[in-house]
């Protein structure tokens, strides 16, 4: 059958109208869950992060962890008998989408927000949230600027995090190299297009200079690089004791075999971006003997961690990674603060006093989560011990805390 141009036009109009109706019907729908009885009062929280797109795996992992905590809490009767109701918005790792999402969550009258997940979109939201005095906790945005505006010297008091900041990790790895591995010389290779990589590299180099670890070379590569042979050959020629590679696991999976081929014999060091690297490696042997820092290890045998892993496996059918663990802890910190406010004050949910009270309670956090014991410094960054992971026999093994 061939359509005449007129019938095509009619069909086109019909489709457009149908689409408009479909959209109108969708409008107002929210992604909700948790609270079953809508008439009873609920605690409403929002989740913001990338759930689709290139970095969706971070967002989804955090969400799994946070939702596990919320579900547990609801099953145990909620907070003071109130169920937790949650809403989420996919920011697609885009700052302007994140800002829209933040506003959307506020339209849902949320009390607090767990998010964002990546630093860029989170930093687009924070100044607005600071103006609104909105309690927020991020599970994974490691950029120092998320909680502190260095240019104006302003701390975003409403913003907390459950993860390490970039400079902390760089410093810790330098200390680990010098004090534990007793390295004399170090080389660094970093990604000029990734903020995280730059932050860690700078902190590592600064700390290394202070503690007598000589940095023999700093090599760099671009954001879409897949071949690092020339940089690695330079490094191999200088024969450093350790090579620090602050980047995400997908890059490490490409770089580690190339390092072996280029003749690099240094001990490879990494940071929490390496989490999950063993799943991405085609040949795990090229990372043998490497160390990286993480917020969490599934081999940590404390009962709390093992209990979390069991319940996570039951719920989702796979092992939690660091992001899920930090998502779980972020939810724990937030709801502990909300519970404290519910118990000690009679402020109305959503009011400014309520928000301030939640923020104050979060600042006073003193809890042990699955990623360690957490208290906050004056920049709202957690003070906690790092987990060191050693790659031994082709597996990421828990080395200890450092």
């Amino acid at each position: 059958m061939r359509l005449t141009s007129k019938s095509k036009r009619v069909l086109g109009v019909v489709l457009v109208v149908a689409l408009a109706f479909a959209l109108a019907a969708c409008n107002g729908g929210g992604t909700t869950g948790g609270g079953e009885a809508n008439d009873a009062e609920t605690i409403r929280v929002g989740l913001l992060g990338p759930y689709t797109g290139a970095v969706a795996h971070f967002g989804l992992a955090v969400r799994e962890g946070a939702l596990l905590y919320i579900e547990q809490r609801n099953a145990a009767g909620g907070i003071n008998g109130m169920q937790i109701e949650y809403f989420w918005f996919d920011d697609e790792h885009d700052p302007i989408r994140a800002l829209t999402g933040y506003n959307w969550l506020l339209d849902q009258e949320v009390t607090a927000i767990i998010g964002g997940v990546t630093s860029g979109p989170t930093m687009a939201v924070v100044p607005q949230a600071f103006e609104d005095n909105m309690p927020m906790i991020t599970a994974s945005a490691t950029h120092a600027g998320v909680t502190y505006d260095a240019e104006n010297g302003v701390v975003f008091t409403n913003m907390f995090r459950a993860c390490f900041i970039d400079p902390f990790q760089g410093e810790k790895m330098a200390e680990f190299a010098r004090n534990v591995l007793e390295a004399e010389t170090a080389a660094v290779i970093f990604n000029t297009g990734v903020d995280y990589s730059i932050g860690l590299q700078e902190a590592f180099v600064a700390r290394a200079a202070a503690i007598g670890l000589e940095v023999v070379t700093i090599e760099a590569y671009g954001v879409d690089a897949v071949d690092f042979t020339s940089q690695l050959t330079n490094i191999a020629a200088l024969n450093p004791d350790v090579l620090f590679i602050p980047d995400y696991f997908s890059i490490i999976a490409l770089m580690a075999p190339q390092a072996i081929n280029a003749g690099v014999t240094a001990t490879l060091l990494g940071a929490d971006g390496w989490d999950g690297v063993m799943d991405a490696m085609t040949d795990p042997s090229s990372l043998e003997g490497a160390f990286y820092m993480s917020g969490f290890s599934v081999e940590d045998d404390t009962p709390k961690v093992q209990d979390f892993i069991t319940r996570f496996m039951e719920r989702y059918g796979h092992e939690p990674n660091m992001f899920s663990a930090q998502g779980y802890d972020a939810a724990m910190i937030l709801f502990a603060a909300i519970e404290h406010v519910e118990n000690t004050t009679d402020h109305v949910q959503g009011s400014d006093e309520y928000r301030t009270a939640v923020i104050n309670a979060m600042a006073a956090t003193n809890l042990t989560g699955v990623t360690g014991h957490i208290t906050y410094d004056r920049f709202n960054n957690p003070i906690k011990t790092a987990v060191m992971v050693e790659i031994r026999d082709g597996l990421a093994r828990f080395w200890g805390t450092f």
């Binding site: 095509k8 969708c26 689709t52 302007i96 800002l99 829209t100 959307w104 506020l106 930093m123």
Partner: protein, 333 residues
């Protein structure tokens, strides 16, 4: 039978009245709190993408080329405005307007620089070279940390974007482009799309008009970039990637290449869609793709084709229809 025509001054009057009504009502709605916060944010985002789509339409629709570097011009504008606003050269309203102009001019200069070599090429080749340009801009921004803040980006940009300012600029953009396309220069640009060899043989300066269309398009993309910076209050190079250019191109193609109204409608729908479909979770990605496929199958020329809205024309048609009816009645009697 004499056709019913609305005289030119009256046409201007009608359009001006409509614009004033739109701005006053819009501003009233925005400030009255009738809209939710997310809806307010989307209205701003829609405005920015209308400017982007309408400006890209000049090159993609009217000039008939396929540029893939619009996000690059947007980035130039965004960073220029952000640096200007942060520097406190001027203050108050002059600073805001100045930032918008600086953004547009910087982008236009880049448009000329890129346009002169790029527009010697056609079709696929032009697409690739503009794509390359868009990426170069982003890489340059990453590697000039002293000026642009590099990968961590620029923070604490004054948030100057508001409804009235943005939509006044949306209207100026549409008006300037509309008027230009109706002028001698616009006709020359259209002739290049229809048949470049024929146009050249008639004495149309092809390179001149191509670069002109390209830099006009870049100018408004830069202005849109300035509004983007003024909305977010922070800039990182990440979002100005190749996908952003593609998204803007999708708006133009979906709306109908060469239809300003189509660009406006498609930009509005596609920008508001993720929020409207929030209730559908991840299915929205499938729906988005399906919608594009359906439109392209059944209406390959885009939602509006090359049709452009004109209230005066509709009024004239209505007038003509009434006159013919009057004639018929007269005939019967």
């Amino acid at each position: 039978m004499k056709e019913f025509r609305i005289p030119m001054p009256a046409r201007y009057g009608i359009n001006l009245a409509l614009i004033a009504m739109f701005l006053i009502t819009g501003n009233g709605v925005m400030t009255s709190g009738m809209l939710s916060r997310a809806q307010g944010a989307i209205v701003i985002e829609v405005g920015i993408f209308i400017i982007l789509a309408v400006s890209l339409n000049v090159v993609a629709g009217y000039l008939g080329q396929l540029p893939l570097g619009h996000a690059g011009f947007m980035a130039v504008g965004a960073y220029s405005a952000a640096i200007f606003w942060r520097s406190d050269v001027l203050s108050g309203v002059p600073s805001i307007i100045g930032g918008l102009l600086v953004a547009g001019l910087m982008a236009a200069i880049f448009g000329i620089i890129i346009g002169i070599p790029a527009l010697r090429l056609k079709g696929d080749y032009l697409a690739i070279i503009t794509l390359g340009f868009g990426e170069i801009i982003r890489v340059v921004i990453i590697n000039l940390p002293q000026i642009t803040g590099g990968t961590p980006g620029l923070l604490n940009i004054p948030r100057h974007t508001n409804f009235l300012l943005l939509y006044v600029c949306v209207i100026i953009t549409c008006a300037v482009i509309h008027m230009m396309m109706k002028s001698r220069h616009g006709r020359a640009i259209l002739s290049l799309r229809e048949n470049e060899i024929a146009a050249e043989s008639c004495g149309v300066k092809t390179t001149y008009y191509k670069v002109m269309a390209f830099s006009l398009s870049a100018f408004f993309a830069g202005v849109a970039g300035a509004f983007y910076a003024g909305t977010l209050g922070m800039l990182t190079p990440g979002p100005f990637n190749f996908m952003k250019s593609i998204n803007i191109l999708v708006m133009v193609v979906l709306g109908g290449m060469g239809s300003m109204m189509g660009s406006v409608i498609a930009a509005s729908i596609l920008t508001a869609l993720p929020l409207l479909m929030q209730g559908l979770n991840d299915y929205r990605l499938i729906i988005y793709a399906l919608m594009l496929i359906i439109v392209m199958i059944f209406k390959p020329s885009g939602l509006m084709g090359t049709y452009d809205f004109s209230l005066s024309r509709i009024l004239e048609k209505a007038g003509n229809w009434m006159m013919t009816r009057g004639d018929k009645k007269g005939g019967v009697a």
